[in-house]
Amino acid sequence: MSTATNSDSWTVAGRTFSSRLIVGTGKYKSFEENAAAVEASGAEIVTVAVRRVNIADPKQPMLTDFIDPRKVTYLPNTAGCFTGEEAIRTLRLAREAGGWTLVKLEVLGEAKTLYPDMVETLRATEILANEGFEPMVYCADDPIAAKRLEDSGAVAVMPLGAPIGSGLGLQNLVTIRLIVEGAKVPVLVDAGVGTASDAAEAMELGCDGVLMNTAIAEAKDPVLMARAMKAAVEAGRLAYLAGRMQKRLYADPSSPLAGII
């Protein structure tokens, strides 16, 4: 392996990571299983949600008891927010809870598809950037919208591969590739990955990383799937760096024709 690939890392908002897999922490059966899956995935960033403390039962175990925010970077999200205002309010609280400015912005348009509302997303990105946040932004797989986000202060653009939680795999390889080609900030496919080959495919297109939750959490064996995703992201990245062969319409023999008996 060349030295370039040995030291293959990526940087977002001045922070450098060697793992290109970001994993969510929702939908797990237990905190223990969640922590084991994060460990197996090799992820250095996990997404987390901001929710009300249960004041009826304040001594419930907390995520931070199982996944140490000093060892793994917490990326607070705005899941469930349908307006820019709700998202900004959530992230202001997240900044106070964790002290972090690196956040994941998602402003949803409707419950059925959880498709992003790009008008609100752009507006919120601009406000957050002006307040000193470093938003990584969930967005539509639209190359122009991705550029607009970048201009508004997004530190990473994160187009969906397919609807959140659907596991359908990347539906539009062309738009993801166009976003990658046009971006000056990291591009991560966020949402839609169902299995390892989907993650590899995103990386083969030149994405800087992949963010997933359900594909691991809802696998029959989440810890094993986390390992599979780690391998897939690495394989896809290496294949991208290696540069794939050209496709041909017909066969081309691998063994020499000369010297056939």
């Binding site: 969510g24 922490t25 929702g26 939908k27 797990y28 905190f31 969640n34 997404t47 987390v48 949600a49 901001v50 929710r51 009300r52 403390v53 004041i55 304040p58 001594k59 907390m62 995520l63 931070t64 925010p69 917490y74 607070p76 999200n77 899941a79 309010r89 202001r92 609280l93 997240a94 900044r95 106070e96 809870a97 964790g98 959140i164 939680g165 997933m212 939750n213 359900t214």
Partner: protein, 74 residues
């Protein structure tokens, strides 16, 4: 909390009505609820209260609080 028993204050915490003793700080209110002020973020009447000032800011009658923390999410 000893405090010269001023009358108790009616507040809302995460949408639920609560009563706390007069003169208590936000940090004191959280501790009374069984919460560690270092592990939550607090919004008071829609304004985030910096963690560093939770012990100084007094709870006032009619205050509306949101107390949040990180949970699993994607």
């Amino acid at each position: 909390m000893t405090i010269d028993a001023q009358q108790s204050l009616a507040i809302r915490v995460n949408g639920e009505p609560r009563r706390v003793p007069g003169g208590v700080s936000i940090a004191g209110m959280l501790e009374e609820l069984g919460l560690d002020p270092m592990r939550v973020a607090v919004e008071r009447n829609l304004e985030v209260v910096p963690r560093s000032s939770l012990a100084e800011v007094p709870v006032e009658d009619g205050d509306d609080y949101e107390v949040v923390h990180f949970v699993g999410g994607g």
